[in-house]
């Protein structure tokens, strides 16, 4: 038998609902106003997006809370109250789904762009997120309305398992990429060196790989997972860039015989006086090239021949002491050598003859210059290239460029001063006398100077 419904039975729940609605809407308004003003002051954009995404749904939450209070104080039967409750839960689930949709639509593109994910990946991730929200929402609604969900959960678990298997390679890289971006251990623009030897500037970190541009301008792709797992030296951001990059060249050479030969000091002096630069260059640098491992301060061929073959150790010593580093070019060096020989000839030292077969043979050096893959745009790249440089290349930039190609100083100092604005370091290298070291010794001296400057 139904009991008669009185006016208070209706008025009280409605009044409660109305009062609660006014109160919750007022509370919502006040809260949002202060939260929005706080969010605007933070750098993180996520809080702004969160507030924006929940703004519409929060009205529904106010209505739901107020309706729940109204139903609670109404004299309805338990059955009707239960039905009302289910309806309100449904409304809550829908509002949460709406919020989830809004968040997915805004957060995924924002982080996608930050991680430099390709557009199709951002779109795919958004679709997957929305699908997950729909599936969870449907499952919740079915649960609310008492429909069995176990078979559906089984299907969902299977789909998740298949997807996990399909993406088993990609997922760790994706997570590693996320870790790299959030922890900022390695950032785009950093100069890094891996334990496996690869090095260069980080050009991009995408969802699978990190791209590194090597010193030879090759692109190295390192899976994010491997980058996280390996030991990485991060030298940080690029340093001062050169106006023009430095291209390293290698130098190979051929020996060309001239057919000219000297049997005594007079003939040696006369031929040397008119010899082309390529001959002077060969005979003042040949010992250095062939025996660079053996001794610093190598003698020139003239000094060795005069001592060993003519047996004039005094003149040999004087010729050996002519320091090629003091001369700006080969003409001046030749002039000095000829002067020393002529001074000796003036003292009557021309009687000594070379035994047959031990004459001095004039040889000229034919240099073949090749570009190497190494290019430096800053001091760090310069240093790393220098470490890898062949001795032939070092020889070209230090010895040959200065004397034979008649540049004012060695190539390294020129570039450091003119393109990198490093006059002090340029001066230090220009003052450094490479003839007092073996080639390996010269290389390590240069490396030390540059390392000191970088520190």
């Amino acid at each position: 038998m139904n009991e008669a419904i009185s006016w208070p039975d209706i008025v009280v729940p409605v009044a409660v609902f109305a009062a609660a609605l006014i109160a919750t809407l007022w509370l919502r308004r006040v809260s949002y106003r202060s939260l929005i003003s706080w969010a605007k002051r933070t750098e993180w954009q996520g809080d702004d997006i969160l507030l924006q995404a929940t703004q519409g749904a929060s009205v529904l939450w106010c209505i739901t809370i107020s309706a729940a209070l109204g139903i609670a104080v109404s004299p309805m039967t338990a059955r009707w109250k239960s039905l009302g409750g289910d309806g309100l839960w449904t409304l809550l689930v829908l509002s949460l789904a709406l919020t989830g949709f809004n968040l997915a639509n805004q957060l995924i593109p924002m982080y996608g762009e930050k991680f430099q994910l390709p557009r199709h990946i951002i779109k795919l991730t958004g679709t997957i997120a929305r699908a997950i929200i729909i599936v969870i929402g449907i499952l919740l609604l079915l649960e609310i309305w008492g429909v069995p969900t176990s078979p559906i959960l089984l299907v969902v678990a299977l789909i998740v398992l298949i997807a996990a298997l399909a993406f088993r390679e990609t997922l760790p890289n994706l997570l590693a990429g996320f870790q790299l971006n959030t922890t900022e251990q390695v950032k785009v623009g950093d100069y890094i060196k891996l334990e496996t030897g690869e090095e260069g500037y980080v050009k991009a970190i995408d969802w699978r790989m990190t791209q590194i541009e090597g010193l030879d301008r090759s692109t190295i792709f390192v899976p994010n997972r491997k980058l996280i797992q390996s030991t990485v030296i991060n030298y940080g951001r690029p340093i001062k860039k050169a106006k023009e990059s430095f291209r390293f060249y290698d130098r190979l050479h051929l020996k060309e015989l001239t057919g000219l030969k000297a049997r005594n000091l007079r003939e040696l002096t006369d031929i040397l006086k008119n010899a082309p630069d390529s001959i002077v260059y060969y005979h003042t640098h040949n010992f250095l090239e062939e025996h660079h491992y053996l001794t610093p301060e190598p003698a020139n061929d003239f000094a060795l021949w005069v001592s060993d073959v003519l047996g004039d150790v005094v003149l040999g010593e004087r010729l050996a002491s002519v320091d090629a580093f003091e001369f700006p070019g080969l003409s001046a060096l030749r002039e000095r050598l000829v002067n020393v020989m002529e001074e000796c000839l003036a003292q009557g030292s021309e009687s000594r003859q070379a035994p047959e077969g031990r004459e001095f043979h004039f040889i000229k050096s034919v240099s073949v210059i090749l570009p190497t893959p190494y290019i430096a745009r800053d001091l760090r790249e310069f240093l790393e290239s220098l470490r890898k440089l062949s001795l032939g290349s070092l020889y070209f930039h230090i010895f040959e460029s200065r004397l034979r190609l008649q540049r004012a100083t060695n190539d390294f100092s020129l570039w450091l001063e003119q393109s990198l604005d490093e006059p002090e370091l340029a001066g230090e290298i220009a003052r450094f006398d490479p003839y007092t070291f073996t080639l390996e010794g010269t290389k390590s001296q240069l490396i030390q100077l540059i390392e000191k400057r970088l520190q």
Binding site: L252, H253, L254, K255, E256, L257, T258, G259, L260, P276, D277, S278, E290, H291, H292, Y293, L294, D308, E356, G357, R358, E359, H361, I363, K364, S365, V366, S367, V368, I369, L370, R404, L405
Partner: protein
Amino acid sequence: MRLLAKRLSGRVIQNINSTFSGGGVAEILQRMVPLLTELGVDARWSVIKGDMPFFEVTKKIHNTLHGRPDPFTQQDISIFNETSRKNIEEHNLVGDIIFVHDPQPVALVERKKELGKKWIWRCHIDVSKPNEEVWSFLQPWVLQYDASVFSAPAFSRSLPIRQFLISPSIDPLSDKNRELSRDTVDAVLAKYKIPGDKPIILQVSRFDYLKDPVGVIQAFRQVKRSIACRLVLAGGTATDDPESDKVLAEVMERAGNDPDIHVLLIPPGSDIEINALQRAAAIVLQKSLKEGFALTVSEALWKEKAVVASAVGGIPLQVQNKFTGLLSHGIEGTAYAIRQLLGNPEYARWLGKNGKEHVKNNFLITRHLKEYMLLFLALDRPEDVIYL
């Protein structure tokens, strides 16, 4: 090297000599051609045809270019011209660069007018003091080449064509130079019945008067008077050297019944055995009277052996006196140097170490390959500084 090889792509390099086996030239080409091919250079190798009389004449040419005063007869000229004519007519010349080794195939250049192309004459022997009659006979051909290559500066003559200096080389990975176990070395010594009781003095060379094996025996006998040691003379023969049997017989006679002298006739291809003998030796000699380059010196230096060698041909390039070995100028000097080293093993070791480093930097096949490729590229470029 790959960069250089790339610049040669599309060009065929044809090497021509007189034998596929025996002697230093064939040995170098056996290594060089496959390596150039591996680098992407189209390198080929062909040999001229010749009978025994032809090779007897070319052997005579070889000796007389080294300065031996053998008569060069009209008959020799006819034999050389006849075989050369046949080769000029029949030899298949396919290279863009024709790289002719030594005097035997020198006349092929007569086809230059017809074919064009670039021609290089690679002279592996010392022609600084040749028999003028023989040199005058060869010179008209030599002057037709675009460039010539010599192994040592002293070999060059005043020629109106370009002359390059390219030393030959050894392959450190070949059977002749690779590392060997102590067991292998001992097995080779056992095979040739050489006891390991005394330090071994070794000379490896063809049985040839110009290698002075008799002088080596004389020097050894002087050393043996004061220091106990053994001498091993290990030699081979080449198909283009008909004289070696005669020299071998003379060496055997001079060695007599001395149990400390071991004369070994080693057939071509016994590279591991040569390697083992060099590794077993305390001192390696190269007491040549005349030399092309004497790669046996680099082989010994590569094995960190103390070397005593004559200051002839290309030897002074390999042995920087008192830095990477000792140079000698006669039998007494050789005996003195051997005594010095046997009496001072520390000094011998120091020389051997420097010697290996010197070979590593200057006489390995990689440097040789590089210089050949540079030569091919420089043929069209007369300037002193070439930018590639």
